[in-house]
Each structure stands twice: as structure tokens, then as C-alpha cells.
Symmetry: C2
Subunit: 418 residues, 2 copies
């Protein structure tokens, strides 16, 4: 696969994240206009609602762009997804007879405000990166018991809170919570002191299921991927998580990037999962390359300072693919719906510089991280802006995910108004 | 509070669960008709959609009954809830000038099929019954470590799966899952062998929140209550739940009763929480009686046999109220939405005959339960029908919850079709 040339020059630059090969899907608004569906192309956005109304963007089944979300397209299934990509490629490629018409529906990305690209039905977060699970397990249980006994047999996950998922750019309020330090004899209700990020990818369920699905069926159900930051209150988590898992520690917010990268755009970047230390049960077995070679990095900017890249890793470091996670998720018969969001789990590489959370980077606060501006960080401070970015590097082009960013605001002085 | 007489004789019988005092809200259909909102009265249902269209049931804000769910009323808030109850009471009470008009919109309950009464936004399940937590903890960790250290300080909960919530009467398919018995050296993928019920109440969030709310604010947000059976695969749970909590063990199905009992109907039955062993933090403190005196029982009927009552207990046995659970749920800033469903956690009383799950009743399978038909049960067998029922007993009248029932079907022979 090489670059598909567009009549829009900015889409052909090798460092542009949004060539015709990508066709990233978002929801945007400009000025006082309503949010509406758009496709990223170069440094512009094609307004899908306007293009549909003018007759330019007709997809069999029709009428997809009346709502400010991609759920209707997602639910329509793979034939519609292919038809959409084919039509958009036809419109946006160099030599298209639709160039003049399409140019009327372009908006500069820099003028657009981005909104949630889809309605999240439910949100599930996994714990499926082996380096992350090993690091966290070593800190909490020692190196000999780092991985729980079930870990190599199934993708461990828990249900998160869909109502807390926000789009990149949303400010994040440091939470209050019940916590108890090792040096305290009683718990207290106070602002979180160990607020952290988690570098993840989010997989989005397109077509629903009702009953167990195979790994191949699960892969076919996935519509696309986003970057995902699962903000985490480590001190709240430490006190609450036994015996039923994380709850309020993960409920403040989860941020996703504004552009859905369709699975089709990522096909050239499929890679095999890491070597299996233990043979997987049949229902979870790898049936082909289902991870993706996506370079990921995280930047941390204290208020008023430039950012420091604090992590560089790759999505291929995961032990379980999103398809395996989704297959496991349905194994009990759990119905999955259009818009279900599956967080990969924190993506850490083997190197120290490839760790996907401050908990790991600062080793539980014992080894604070030195930023370029000279400040140290164990956990996030008020005013810090954290930004994830991701790119799949092709031959002369790239598939970019854009950015997933958020700034941490101070905790409310008093959380209760009554 | 005493019985409010109706012009409908069946609503005035002291053993009828649905007097004018109750005004239970459901969604029903008859024959080929669409599902629509209805109110239970005696052995009949008042068709709210038809009553609204005819001009009989006008509520300020109007147009509430076009959708087959109560979410729109729930979202409208307490003033609408009160107006609805006042108007329905006016229509249905003895001497009402609306009797003749209302009689045109009555359907026999026995002719109606019941549907989900509301759209579940998200589902959270708690672990807030002290006797249950003590029983389970004793089995798993011994009597000295029965309650986790955090248990007396906060209502422990985890996020469940809204897509798996079904209405009473839905058949339940025994799940497959990954499990590993203590006698096995490797996990296997097989049908669950320890399938169980959990007797719970469900609280339904009416008005949304965005940020921490107090216990009093939380109580005001609650629209009503249902019976809830959190079907549980104990063997799947035992293998998967460390370290992130129950996942597929709780994702097969959760059944709720078809009638929402509004909080207002339960006001006369408010009771205080049990004595606090440890002082609660301010944000969780009791501010008044927020539990309810509701008698609960569970019946188990093997296929072709009469039912045996296997549990009798009361909702007042809970340690934390739904208002406290909801306040804790928002403490991190987690947004709550109309239609969020909060399971109380299993409601067990102190007596052996008051235990709310087979896990406790059969003490992990060590003391099988003898049914009236002569069969023994440690966990549920295929064909078993399990029924929860609940009643608040007033002076010459009762507020009934109806029933929450489901029959266990055998596991699929082969779960995968591909």
C-alpha cells in the first residue's frame, strides 16, 4: 500500500496524519453551527451532513448523517463501512470529478471544535498489556507473583463507566475520594494525591452481538480505533479495589481522541501477537495478525511549560488483541451493542522509557521523572496537560490518530454544594 | 397512611399488591399492539398512552407516553413525579368523575405481556449487605477476615453490564465460561456448574447529576425501586475476579421485576439503617431513614414441581441505603444519568433461612438445600425457575412489587456457530 494522492495538497504530505488512505471520522462544529459528522482530509474536514444533503455523499441505505454521531454508520455494518470508504476515496482522490463539489463542503480543521465522535453504549477496560501487568504486579505483590494466575489464560477486564468518557480537549477535574494511606489508621475523604494517566487504545464495536462470538467474528464486529487515556486515581484505587475491582478510581473521566480510525485504514499495519507463554484455550486462540503496528507517545506539559515526551511505545506490545478481548467479553452470552468501547489496557513496552503510566514511570513514586523544564513528577500536578498521540507509519504516508489531550484542574475546594 | 379506596374493587382487597397507594409503573403490550406505558391498579392496567391521547391523563410538560419506557417521566424530575401521582390518584380513587373515561383504558393484567419498564443507562451492582458479605467472606477468607478492611467505611460496588438486564419472565441461558476448579491444573472453557441467583433490590436514578452529590441529594434523585436478581456464575467468578473484580460471571443476565415502585409509594415504610459499627465519613453519614421495610422472599421450582420458598428476608437488612450508594458513586465526579440502575447487593438476613443466594444457603455447596419436592440443590439445575417477590405491608393495604422470575435453560451444546 502506498499513498493515495488527493487533489488536496495538504493530504499528500508524508507527515500529514490524514491522507486519503486514512479517512478518519469525527464530529465537529464551527462557530454557532450544530455538531455534525465530518471526515478528516489533510488539514481540512469534509462536512458529511452537507455533502449528503447536496447529493454528493450518497451511501446505499442512505440518510446516515442527520445525527451528530457515527453510531448509525457503525450499526449499518461492514458493507456500509466499505461503501462509505469507497465513495469517500472516489470523492477525495486526485482526478475526481467531484472535486469542485467537495471543495464547497470543506472546513479548515483549525476552525473546528471537535465533539464526541460516537455515543458510547458501555465502556469496558482491560488489563491486557503484559509489561504493564508485570510492572504493577511487581510493585504490589513482588516479582515472583507479578502476574495473577489467570492472566496468561484470559484478557482480564472490568466494566467502566460510559458516562465518564469525554472527548480530547475536555478539562479533567482532580477528584475527591475515600482513601487511606499506609501511614493512616483511618480512611479520609480528600482530594486524590496520586492522579495518573494510562496510555491505551480504544476499540469501538460496530455491529452488535447476542451470544458468544469467535475471535474472527469479534474482529469483524470492530468498526475502528481511537486513542484512550484512562485517568486513574491510584490512592482511591488502592483502598477500594479489594474485592470487587476499581470503581471510583476510574470514574472521574476517560478521554478519547476525536477521530475514529476505521479498521480498514489499519489493515496494512496488522501484526501478530507476542509469543504465547501458555497455549490459549480454543475460544481465544489467535487466528491471524490482530494487533497493529502503531507508534504511540505521551507528552506531559506543566502549566506554562513546553511538553516533555515521557513515553514512546507501540500498540503491538499488547498480549491480547481487541478481537480476543471482545470474544472473551461475549463468552458468558453478554450482549454487545453498537458503540461499546473497549479499552486495551495500559500499553507499556519492555523498556523503562516505554511505560504507559506514571505509576510505572515513577515506580510508585519512588523514582520521580525529570521533565525537560527541570520539574520532577511522580504523579500529575494541577495544571499539567497530558497528550497521547499515535501514528501507523506506511511507505511514504502515515495513518495518524491525532491527539488525545486533557488538562488537570485543581480539585474543588468543597465538593458538596448542599 | 391507610388504604386509598378505588372505584375498582380488585384494587381495594387487602392482599392486592397494586392499590391506589402504589401506582406501579410498567410497560405492557397486548396481542399485536406496540409496548406502551401503563399503571397497575388492582388486577388491571391503565393504558397511559391511550389515556394521554384521550386527554384524560394530562401532566404539566405533557407528551410523556409516546415512548415505551418511563425514562422521559424519570428525567422530568420530582415535580412531574408528584404531578403524575396526584393526577393518577385523582383518576383512580373512588368517587372520581373520571371513572367512566378511565374504564375505557383498562386492560386485564392477565392479558398483558410485560416489557422492560425503562431503558437502563448503566448498571452498577453493590455488595452492601453485611450478612451476605460476612457469609461470603467467611467461606472464602475465614471468619476472622470475613469483611474486607474497607467494607464498614464505604459501599463496595462494581460496574455491571446494562446490556444484560432483562425483564422478569425472560429465560436465562446457562453460560459457558473459562473456569478452573481447585482440583484442576489448567483452566477449561465449559458450561458453568455453579450457577446462582442473588436476591437484590434495584434503585433507579431519575434525575441526572454531574459532580459529587450528598446523601440527601442522592435520595432526591432516586425515582423508584424494583426487585433484582443478579444471576451469578460462581465458578467463573472464582477464577476471573482477581484482581479486577467480577466480569463475565455477572454478564449473562440480570433480571428485574416489571413494575417500578415509585419512591413516594414507599415513604410510609422508611426505616433507619442498622447500627453503625464504625462511624461513617461525613459524605456517607445517615441523614434520616433511607432504607425500607420490604418483606422479600425467594421461591425455587424445579421443572414440573411446585415451588419451595427458600429464603425470607427484608430490605432493611442492608447496611448501606441506595442513597448512600449513589452518593458514593458520584464522589469521584462520576456523572449519573436518567435510567442508571443500582443493585443493592445481596440481601441476606442473620438467620440461615434468610440468606439471599444459594452460595450462602448451601454454604458453597457443602450443605445442599432440601426442596419440598424432595430434591436437593447446591446450585441451580437446568429447568429451575427462580422467583423473587416483595411486599411492603401497610395498615390494611400493601405495596407489592410483583414478581421477578426466570427459568434456567440448559447451556448451548456448542456456543460457537462459526
Amino acid at each position: 500500500m502506498s499513498l493515495i494522492q488527493s487533489w488536496l495538497a495538504s493530504a499528500n504530505r508524508p507527515d500529514n496524519p490524514f491522507p486519503v488512505n486514512n479517512l478518519a471520522l469525527g464530529v465537529f462544529s464551527t462557530g454557532d453551527d450544530d455538531p455534525r459528522c465530518g471526515v478528516a482530509i489533510g488539514d481540512m474536514i469534509l462536512d458529511c451532513r452537507a455533502a449528503e444533503r447536496s447529493g454528493l455523499l450518497e451511501i446505499p441505505g442512505g440518510g446516515f448523517f442527520g445525527q451528530p454521531s457515527w453510531n448509525q454508520v457503525m450499526q449499518a455494518g461492514p458493507a456500509t463501512w466499505s461503501a462509505l470508504r469507497a465513495r469517500l476515496t472516489g470523492i477525495l482522490s486526485r482526478g475526481s470529478r467531484d472535486e469542485a463539489a467537495a471543495r464547497q463542503h470543506l472546513t479548515a480543521m483549525s476552525d473546528a471544535k471537535m465533539h464526541m465522535p460516537f455515543t458510547v453504549a458501555e465502556y469496558t477496560d482491560f488489563y491486557a498489556g503484559r509489561h504493564h501487568a508485570t510492572n504493577v504486579g511487581t510493585m504490589f505483590r513482588g516479582a515472583d507473583n507479578a502476574l495473577p494466575p489467570n492472566w496468561l489464560h484470559m484478557p482480564i477486564g472490568y466494566n467502566g463507566r460510559a458516562s465518564s468518557v469525554v472527548v480530547s480537549g475536555s478539562d479533567i477535574r482532580r477528584p475527591w475520594g475515600q482513601l487511606k494511606g499506609p501511614d493512616h489508621d483511618k480512611p479520609a475523604f480528600m482530594p486524590c494525591r496520586r492522579f495518573d494517566f494510562e496510555l491505551e487504545m480504544g476499540a469501538i464495536v460496530g455491529t452488535p452481538s447476542n451470544g458468544p462470538v469467535t475471535v474472527d467474528q469479534a474482529d469483524a464486529m470492530i468498526f475502528g480505533y481511537v486513542l484512550l487515556n484512562d485517568w486513574s486515581a491510584r490512592d482511591i484505587q488502592a483502598w477500594e479495589y479489594q474485592p470487587l475491582g476499581p470503581f471510583q478510581a476510574k470514574a472521574t473521566a476517560t478521554t478519547i481522541s476525536p477521530w475514529i480510525i476505521m479498521k480498514a485504514a489499519l489493515e496494512p499495519f496488522r501484526v501478530d501477537a507476542p509469543e504465547r507463554k501458555v497455549e490459549l484455550l480454543s475460544y481465544l486462540k489467535d487466528t491471524g495478525p490482530m494487533l497493529y503496528d502503531i507508534d504511540l507517545e505521551v507528552s506531559l506539559s506543566p502549566q506554562g511549560s513546553d511538553g516533555t515526551t515521557i513515553t514512546r511505545t507501540n500498540y503491538r506490545e499488547m498480549y491480547y488483541s481487541a478481537a480476543q478481548q471482545l470474544a472473551h467479553h461475549t463468552s458468558s452470552g453478554c450482549p454487545m451493542r453498537t458503540g461499546d468501547l473497549l479499552g486495551s489496557g495500559t500499553i507499556s513496552g519492555p523498556a523503562k522509557s516505554a511505560r504507559g503510566s506514571l505509576l510505572e514511570l515513577s515506580w510508585g513514586g519512588k523514582e520521580p521523572l525529570r521533565l525537560d523544564c527541570g520539574e520532577d513528577r511522580s504523579f500529575l500536578l494541577d495544571g499539567d496537560t497530558l497528550t497521547l498521540s499515535g501514528v501507523a507509519q506506511g511507505d511514504g504516508y502515515m495513518i495518524g490518530f491525532g491527539q488525545c489531550t486533557g488538562t488537570l484542574l485543581p480539585a474543588l475546594e468543597a465538593p458538596y454544594t448542599a
